[in-house]
Structures are given as C-alpha cells and as structure tokens.
Amino acid sequence: MTVVVDYDLGNVGSVLNMLKKAGLQARLSGDPEVIRSATRLFLPGVGSFDTGMANLNRLGIRPALEEAVLERKVPILGICLGFQLLTKSSEEGVQPGLGWLDAETVALRNLSGIPDLRVPHMGWSRAFPRNPSLFAGLEDDARFYFVHTFAVKEETCRDTVLATTEYGGRFVSSAGKGHIAGTQFHPEKSHRYGLTLLQNFVANFPCP
C-alpha cells in the first residue's frame, strides 16, 4: 500500500489528488502501524522544519518510518519540507533532521549571498537534471512549482544530486540515495511535468 504520511503539516489533499491522477492507489495515514507496513511512502510537508520534526516524533511516526525506510528499504519521496526533513539539519530550526540524506538545508539568502533576495522563492523554475531516475522523459523546458525559503546546499550534499535549480544561487532541487529521494519543488502542483516525475518515482524506485 502506498501511504502519504500525515503528520499534521501540509497540503496532503493535493498530493492525494495528483497520485490519484497518476493512477496510484494511495492512503493518507498518520498511524504508525499503517506506515510501518507501507510498500511506498510519500512525505509531503508545508511548514517549518522544527514543527515537522516535532510532529514526526510526537505522533510516533518517526520509528515507524525508520523501520519501513531503513530496515525494509521501502522507497520514499520527500516533497518540499518533506525533502528537507530527510537531510541532517536546517538553518530554519535547531532540531536535527532525519539525516537519511547526507546534506544540509540552509537559507536561500545565505546560500545566494544576497541578503535582500526576495523570498520565499515562489513560482515556476527549471530543474536541471543530473540523473534521469526521476526526470526521465521530461522535455528540456520542464518546469516545476517551488515555494520555499530554505534549500539544500549543493556543497553539503554527499549523496546523489538528481537536479539543481537556480534562484539567487544554485541549490539542490532534488537528491537521492538508493530508495530514498526528495524534491524541493511540488510535483503534485506541477501539471504534467510533476505527473511524469511521480510516475518515474513509481517506475524507478521499486517496492521491496
């Protein structure tokens, strides 16, 4: 069962809508038992880093996720804040992240060195793929919808950078390691480009 993790933070409705359009039966759940037995996971998220980590811990979701993803190797796609939570840390908060991706999340203004950069970065930008796993079959002009103030810094990313994007400076818009991947942008709100990306995730990140 594909499970969209509900940790009380984010636009879960949009993710469910797009997965339905992608032909994927998905269930929304914050129940650790359901998450533990999932065969594919989506970790969405809109909100702040510390609230995200606090909710994962408070709701008992974290150990269930660890069992599924780290032990059973269930594929997981983190989206936006969900992607940042996969990294080790974020300048947005003081809580450590899940740390499944060896990378750090920093403020876009620090990353770009532009103190008055207009943030959040909100809108459609290109993602320049480095790796086809999520981006196969997408046209050169594929664009994705971004809404964020923090981003994964390329220099800190020791796992595979799947794509980069520029806003003020270059940041990692998608990264992955094995069956774990994330996107800074919102595939669920990126029309057919996002649909293709989600279909790639399903095709190229097989269930255990």
């Binding site: 879960v12 949009s14 909100g47 207009r118 943030v119 806003y167 990126s190 649909l195």
Partner: protein, 261 residues
Amino acid sequence: MSVIPVQSLKRIIPCLLMGTSGLVKTRKFDKPKYLGDAVNTIRIFNDKQADEIILLDIIAGRERTPIRFNIVEEIVSQAFMPLCYGGGITSFDEVRRLLRMGVEKIALCTAALENPGLISEAANACGNQAVVGVVEVSRKGMFGRQEASLHGGRKKSGLSPVDAARRMVEAGAGEIMINHAERDGEMEGYDIELVKSICDAVNVPVIACGGCGSLDHIKALFATTAVSAAAAGSLFVFHGPHRAVLINYPQPHVLTGIASR
C-alpha cells in the same frame, strides 16, 4: 531595490471570483457578471496549464457569510496547479482546513488588517509562504489619496496601500497581492506606480491584480516593476469588445516570451 539575478519565471495568474452561484467577473468591485461553473472553469485552466489560480469568494468576503468549503474542495480536487483561496477567512481553524484540503495559500484582506494575529498564527504554523496579504486599493473621493480598504472596498482602513503591505509582511505574510478596486474590470492597464511603490516597500513576492486588459499590459508590468506575478480576471474570461465569456490562457511559448526571467 537592486536588480537580483534570479531564475524564476514570473507567474501569470487567472484571478477568479466566486459569486452567489458560480463564477462572476466584476467591474470596480461591482456589477458581477455571471461567467459559468467554477469546477468546469478550473478544468479548462488546468488543461491550459495555468501557472496558478487565485480564487476569491466575494460573497463570503463582503457579506461575512461562511466559507463554502464543499465548493472549494471540489474546485481544489481539479486543480493540478497551485491554488490560493481568499474570502471570509476569520479563524486559524478555517486556515488549517483549507490548507489540508489542498489549497496552497490562503489570502487574507479584512482579517489581515483587523486581526493581524491571524496572519502571524497561520504563518508560524503553516509557513509564511502559505499566507498572502491582500492589499485592496480604493480611493477617497474622486481625487483623494489611495487607501487600503476592507470588506471588498466597503470600509476604509486609514492606511496607505504601502503601509498596509508593510504591516502584513511584518505580521508574517509571505506574499502580497495588490487588488486594485478602481481598476478592477476596466482592462486599461495596471497601476504601475503603485505596484512599484509596494515592491520597493517589501521583500516578499508581490502579485499585481486590477486593470489588466491585454498581454501587453503584463509585459509592461514585468518590464517596469519587480513584481513576481501578474494576476488578471477579465483578460482570461472575456473575449472581444463586448466581453463575451471565453475562458482563455496564453500558450506556453507565448507565456515564456512574456515571463522570462
């Protein structure tokens, strides 16, 4: 404001108004003209891959009637692009409910000025990117100064549009939408000077709305101001001098020409 090398496409956003039943388009916030069913309209914009949708319930916003959650949810389920909802939001519970059903952003105007704490509460919990402060621009008398208004233009705030925008950003709004009552539906162009002054005053993305009658108006807006997005109602729902209802949106290559960046 310095010119910043960014790589984001400026957004072109249909702004749709929910009337008593179905969508309407107003002129100067008045004389609503019926356009058609909201869900069908969203499907068309979806097929045309619109950048984003702004949906404003002018009934809930003006008459202070309850938010029509069931209609919003039906609309959202058909929107595979970001959707911003505004109109009649007065509490944090309503904000959460809207975001959970798949609304990306909520727009606050009256509540933003009467109860800035709601902006802060929503921004703290959901991130400031989810909270759009709407600066409604009206004028006192024919030659009076521009002022930020509330309740769909029915009440004046005593604040200049720039001050209202600043206050909203200080409270936590992650984006400002300028909704120009005087230019609404007139299709004679954006208020470039006002847009400039608000872009200079805040360092969050700014959406201009009110007055757009052609793609050239959008080009001029993008060429002369630091806005992040151009919103338009009439342009995307009417065709020809007699304002026949025709839902339309520029083709991707036309869009890229206008919005690059």
